[in-house]
Protein backbone atom coordinates (compact mmCIF):
# COMPACT_ATOMS: atom_id res chain seq x y z
CA UNK A 1 0.00 0.00 0.00
CA UNK A 2 1.26 3.42 -0.98
CA UNK A 3 2.10 5.52 2.06
CA UNK A 4 0.82 8.66 0.34
CA UNK A 5 -2.64 7.08 -0.11
CA UNK A 6 -2.87 6.44 3.63
CA UNK A 7 -1.75 9.98 4.38
CA UNK A 8 -4.20 11.44 1.87
CA UNK A 9 -7.08 9.58 3.49
CA UNK A 10 -5.99 10.67 6.95
CA UNK A 11 -5.81 14.31 5.87
CA UNK A 12 -9.25 14.09 4.28
CA UNK A 13 -10.65 12.71 7.53
CA UNK A 14 -9.04 15.48 9.52
CA UNK A 15 -9.90 18.12 6.91
CA UNK A 16 -6.29 19.26 6.81
CA UNK A 17 -4.15 20.02 3.74
CA UNK A 18 -1.37 17.46 3.41
CA UNK A 19 1.23 20.21 3.33
CA UNK A 20 0.28 21.09 6.89
CA UNK A 21 0.77 17.53 8.11
CA UNK A 22 4.49 16.71 8.14
CA UNK A 23 5.56 13.23 9.16
CA UNK A 24 7.13 14.50 12.34
CA UNK A 25 3.94 16.25 13.51
CA UNK A 26 2.60 14.86 16.75
CA UNK A 27 -0.89 13.39 16.35
CA UNK A 28 -2.11 15.20 19.44
CA UNK A 29 -1.00 18.51 17.91
CA UNK A 30 -2.91 18.12 14.67
CA UNK A 31 -6.06 16.44 16.02
CA UNK A 32 -8.18 18.81 18.10
CA UNK A 33 -9.45 16.31 20.67
CA UNK A 34 -9.01 12.72 21.76
CA UNK A 35 -12.48 11.70 20.56
CA UNK A 36 -11.52 12.77 17.05
CA UNK A 37 -8.28 10.81 17.29
CA UNK A 38 -10.22 7.65 18.17
CA UNK A 39 -12.56 8.31 15.26
CA UNK A 40 -9.59 8.79 12.92
CA UNK A 41 -7.93 5.52 13.99
CA UNK A 42 -11.17 3.62 13.51
CA UNK A 43 -12.05 5.21 10.16
CA UNK A 44 -8.60 4.45 8.78
CA UNK A 45 -8.91 0.81 9.83
CA UNK A 46 -12.34 0.61 8.20
CA UNK A 47 -11.01 2.22 5.05
CA UNK A 48 -8.08 -0.19 4.72
CA UNK A 49 -9.79 -3.26 6.24
CA UNK A 50 -7.27 -3.49 9.05
CA UNK A 51 -7.74 -4.46 12.68
CA UNK A 52 -5.46 -2.78 15.21
CA UNK A 53 -5.50 -2.86 19.00
CA UNK A 54 -4.48 -0.39 21.66
CA UNK A 55 -1.32 -2.44 22.07
CA UNK A 56 -0.41 -1.94 18.39
CA UNK A 57 -0.69 1.83 18.72
CA UNK A 58 1.25 2.04 21.94
CA UNK A 59 4.20 4.33 21.37
CA UNK A 60 2.80 5.77 18.13
CA UNK A 61 3.01 9.51 18.57
CA UNK A 62 3.69 11.07 15.20
CA UNK A 63 2.02 11.05 11.79
CA UNK A 64 5.03 9.24 10.33
CA UNK A 65 4.87 6.49 12.95
CA UNK A 66 1.17 5.97 12.27
CA UNK A 67 1.72 5.83 8.51
CA UNK A 68 4.56 3.35 9.01
CA UNK A 69 2.36 1.10 11.15
CA UNK A 70 -0.38 1.06 8.52
CA UNK A 71 2.13 0.49 5.75
CA UNK A 72 3.72 -2.42 7.60
CA UNK A 73 0.38 -4.05 8.30
CA UNK A 74 -0.84 -3.58 4.75
CA UNK A 75 2.29 -5.00 3.18
CA UNK A 76 1.49 -8.31 1.51
CA UNK A 77 3.19 -11.32 3.09
CA UNK A 78 6.35 -12.35 1.28
CA UNK A 79 5.71 -15.06 -1.28
CA UNK A 80 7.85 -18.20 -1.10
CA UNK A 81 10.44 -18.37 -3.86
CA UNK A 82 9.50 -20.90 -6.54
CA UNK A 83 12.10 -23.64 -7.04
Amino acid sequence: MDRSAIKARMCRLLKLPEARVPDDARLTDIVPDSFMLVETFIELQEEFSLRLTQQDLMGVQTVGELLQLFQDRLRPAAQPVAR
Binding site: S34, F35, V38, E39, I42, R51, T53, Q54, L57, M58
Partner: protein, 191 residues
Protein backbone atom coordinates in the same frame (compact mmCIF):
# COMPACT_ATOMS: atom_id res chain seq x y z
CA UNK B 1 -32.44 30.97 40.38
CA UNK B 2 -34.86 29.48 42.90
CA UNK B 3 -33.68 29.09 46.47
CA UNK B 4 -34.28 25.36 46.22
CA UNK B 5 -31.26 24.91 43.98
CA UNK B 6 -27.77 25.33 45.35
CA UNK B 7 -24.68 26.11 43.29
CA UNK B 8 -23.38 22.63 43.98
CA UNK B 9 -26.59 21.01 42.77
CA UNK B 10 -26.46 23.08 39.60
CA UNK B 11 -22.83 22.06 39.13
CA UNK B 12 -23.58 18.33 39.53
CA UNK B 13 -26.56 18.42 37.16
CA UNK B 14 -24.56 20.44 34.63
CA UNK B 15 -21.79 17.85 34.91
CA UNK B 16 -24.27 15.05 34.12
CA UNK B 17 -25.57 17.10 31.20
CA UNK B 18 -22.10 17.68 29.76
CA UNK B 19 -21.23 13.98 30.03
CA UNK B 20 -24.41 13.09 28.12
CA UNK B 21 -23.58 15.60 25.38
CA UNK B 22 -20.03 14.26 25.06
CA UNK B 23 -21.27 10.67 24.86
CA UNK B 24 -23.80 11.56 22.22
CA UNK B 25 -21.29 13.38 20.04
CA UNK B 26 -18.74 10.59 20.32
CA UNK B 27 -21.17 7.82 19.38
CA UNK B 28 -22.73 9.96 16.70
CA UNK B 29 -19.40 10.40 15.00
CA UNK B 30 -18.57 6.72 15.30
CA UNK B 31 -21.97 5.68 13.96
CA UNK B 32 -21.39 7.84 10.91
CA UNK B 33 -18.18 5.97 10.06
CA UNK B 34 -19.64 2.48 10.61
CA UNK B 35 -20.82 0.10 7.97
CA UNK B 36 -24.60 -0.39 8.12
CA UNK B 37 -25.60 -3.30 10.35
CA UNK B 38 -26.78 -4.17 13.86
CA UNK B 39 -23.87 -2.39 15.54
CA UNK B 40 -24.59 0.84 13.72
CA UNK B 41 -28.32 0.47 14.33
CA UNK B 42 -27.87 0.20 18.11
CA UNK B 43 -25.17 2.83 18.29
CA UNK B 44 -27.48 5.21 16.46
CA UNK B 45 -30.16 4.72 19.09
CA UNK B 46 -27.54 5.02 21.81
CA UNK B 47 -26.36 8.44 20.68
CA UNK B 48 -29.94 9.62 20.18
CA UNK B 49 -30.69 8.57 23.79
CA UNK B 50 -27.65 10.37 25.16
CA UNK B 51 -28.61 13.51 23.29
CA UNK B 52 -32.11 13.29 24.71
CA UNK B 53 -30.68 12.79 28.20
CA UNK B 54 -28.77 16.04 27.85
CA UNK B 55 -32.06 17.70 26.92
CA UNK B 56 -33.76 16.11 29.96
CA UNK B 57 -31.06 17.56 32.22
CA UNK B 58 -31.36 20.98 30.61
CA UNK B 59 -35.13 20.89 31.09
CA UNK B 60 -34.74 19.68 34.67
CA UNK B 61 -32.34 22.50 35.53
CA UNK B 62 -34.69 25.04 33.97
CA UNK B 63 -37.68 23.58 35.83
CA UNK B 64 -35.74 24.16 39.02
CA UNK B 65 -35.17 27.78 38.02
CA UNK B 66 -31.54 27.43 36.98
CA UNK B 67 -29.47 27.70 33.86
CA UNK B 68 -26.94 24.98 33.00
CA UNK B 69 -23.25 25.73 33.40
CA UNK B 70 -20.97 25.35 30.41
CA UNK B 71 -18.33 22.88 31.55
CA UNK B 72 -14.96 22.24 30.00
CA UNK B 73 -14.50 18.55 30.67
CA UNK B 74 -16.77 15.55 30.77
CA UNK B 75 -16.17 12.45 32.84
CA UNK B 76 -15.29 10.52 29.67
CA UNK B 77 -12.32 12.79 28.89
CA UNK B 78 -10.47 11.44 31.91
CA UNK B 79 -10.97 7.84 30.80
CA UNK B 80 -8.66 8.13 27.83
CA UNK B 81 -6.00 9.60 30.04
CA UNK B 82 -6.22 6.75 32.53
CA UNK B 83 -6.85 3.82 30.19
CA UNK B 84 -5.41 4.96 26.89
CA UNK B 85 -7.50 5.53 23.82
CA UNK B 86 -9.66 2.76 22.41
CA UNK B 87 -8.63 2.13 18.82
CA UNK B 88 -11.20 -0.35 17.51
CA UNK B 89 -14.92 -0.96 17.95
CA UNK B 90 -14.41 -3.71 20.53
CA UNK B 91 -12.30 -1.41 22.69
CA UNK B 92 -14.82 1.41 22.26
CA UNK B 93 -17.62 -0.89 23.40
CA UNK B 94 -15.55 -2.23 26.31
CA UNK B 95 -14.89 1.27 27.63
CA UNK B 96 -18.56 2.12 27.01
CA UNK B 97 -19.73 -0.89 29.00
CA UNK B 98 -17.59 0.10 31.96
CA UNK B 99 -18.63 3.75 31.67
CA UNK B 100 -22.37 3.02 31.39
CA UNK B 101 -22.23 0.86 34.51
CA UNK B 102 -20.55 3.70 36.34
CA UNK B 103 -23.20 6.15 35.15
CA UNK B 104 -26.11 3.98 36.24
CA UNK B 105 -24.49 3.42 39.64
CA UNK B 106 -23.94 7.15 40.06
CA UNK B 107 -27.53 7.92 39.07
CA UNK B 108 -28.87 5.20 41.39
CA UNK B 109 -26.81 6.61 44.25
CA UNK B 110 -28.13 10.10 43.54
CA UNK B 111 -31.70 8.78 43.41
CA UNK B 112 -31.30 6.98 46.72
CA UNK B 113 -30.50 10.17 48.63
CA UNK B 114 -33.67 11.29 50.40
CA UNK B 115 -35.15 14.73 49.82
CA UNK B 116 -34.26 15.23 46.18
CA UNK B 117 -36.20 17.63 43.97
CA UNK B 118 -39.05 15.79 42.14
CA UNK B 119 -37.75 16.99 38.76
CA UNK B 120 -34.32 15.47 39.47
CA UNK B 121 -35.83 12.20 40.66
CA UNK B 122 -38.03 11.93 37.58
CA UNK B 123 -35.12 12.71 35.26
CA UNK B 124 -32.90 10.13 36.94
CA UNK B 125 -35.60 7.46 36.69
CA UNK B 126 -36.27 8.19 33.02
CA UNK B 127 -32.60 8.14 32.06
CA UNK B 128 -31.85 4.99 34.06
CA UNK B 129 -34.36 3.03 31.96
CA UNK B 130 -32.38 3.87 28.83
CA UNK B 131 -29.06 3.20 30.54
CA UNK B 132 -30.14 -0.35 31.31
CA UNK B 133 -30.72 -0.94 27.62
CA UNK B 134 -27.34 0.64 26.81
CA UNK B 135 -25.57 -1.83 29.08
CA UNK B 136 -27.51 -4.71 27.58
CA UNK B 137 -26.87 -3.97 23.91
CA UNK B 138 -23.19 -3.23 24.51
CA UNK B 139 -22.77 -6.45 26.49
CA UNK B 140 -24.48 -8.44 23.73
CA UNK B 141 -22.31 -6.80 21.07
CA UNK B 142 -19.16 -7.61 23.05
CA UNK B 143 -20.23 -11.25 23.34
CA UNK B 144 -20.75 -11.28 19.59
CA UNK B 145 -17.27 -9.84 19.09
CA UNK B 146 -15.60 -12.59 21.09
CA UNK B 147 -15.56 -14.62 17.89
CA UNK B 148 -13.53 -11.99 16.08
CA UNK B 149 -11.26 -10.73 18.86
CA UNK B 150 -11.09 -13.78 21.14
CA UNK B 151 -12.89 -14.25 24.43
CA UNK B 152 -9.75 -13.79 26.54
CA UNK B 153 -8.78 -10.61 24.75
CA UNK B 154 -12.26 -9.10 25.20
CA UNK B 155 -12.23 -9.98 28.91
CA UNK B 156 -8.72 -8.63 29.41
CA UNK B 157 -9.75 -5.38 27.71
CA UNK B 158 -12.79 -5.06 29.97
CA UNK B 159 -10.63 -5.67 33.04
CA UNK B 160 -8.12 -3.05 31.93
CA UNK B 161 -10.85 -0.45 31.49
CA UNK B 162 -12.47 -1.41 34.80
CA UNK B 163 -9.20 -0.67 36.59
CA UNK B 164 -8.98 2.68 34.83
CA UNK B 165 -12.59 3.42 35.76
CA UNK B 166 -11.85 2.84 39.43
CA UNK B 167 -8.91 5.20 39.22
CA UNK B 168 -10.92 7.91 37.44
CA UNK B 169 -13.84 7.51 39.83
CA UNK B 170 -11.58 7.83 42.89
CA UNK B 171 -10.03 10.96 41.42
CA UNK B 172 -13.36 12.47 40.38
CA UNK B 173 -14.98 11.70 43.70
CA UNK B 174 -12.11 13.32 45.54
CA UNK B 175 -12.56 16.46 43.47
CA UNK B 176 -16.34 16.43 43.85
CA UNK B 177 -16.59 15.15 47.40
CA UNK B 178 -17.29 18.58 48.81
CA UNK B 179 -19.99 19.35 46.23
CA UNK B 180 -21.64 15.94 46.55
CA UNK B 181 -21.62 16.00 50.35
CA UNK B 182 -23.11 19.48 50.36
CA UNK B 183 -25.78 18.48 47.85
CA UNK B 184 -26.78 15.34 49.75
CA UNK B 185 -26.78 17.20 53.11
CA UNK B 186 -29.08 19.90 51.69
CA UNK B 187 -31.41 17.29 50.27
CA UNK B 188 -31.61 15.53 53.63
CA UNK B 189 -32.36 18.86 55.33
CA UNK B 190 -35.35 19.40 53.02
CA UNK B 191 -37.11 16.40 54.57
Amino acid sequence: MSQAMSDNELWVLSFYRTSEISGSLFFGRLARSMRPGPLQRDMTKHFADESQHAWYWTRCIETMGGRAHKMADAYQDQYFEAAGMPVNYMEVLAITHVFERRVINQYAQHLSVPGGHPAVKQTLKTIMKDEKWHIQWVRDALLEMEGEYGKDHVRATLERFQKADQEVYRKTMKEQEERANDLFRRQAERL
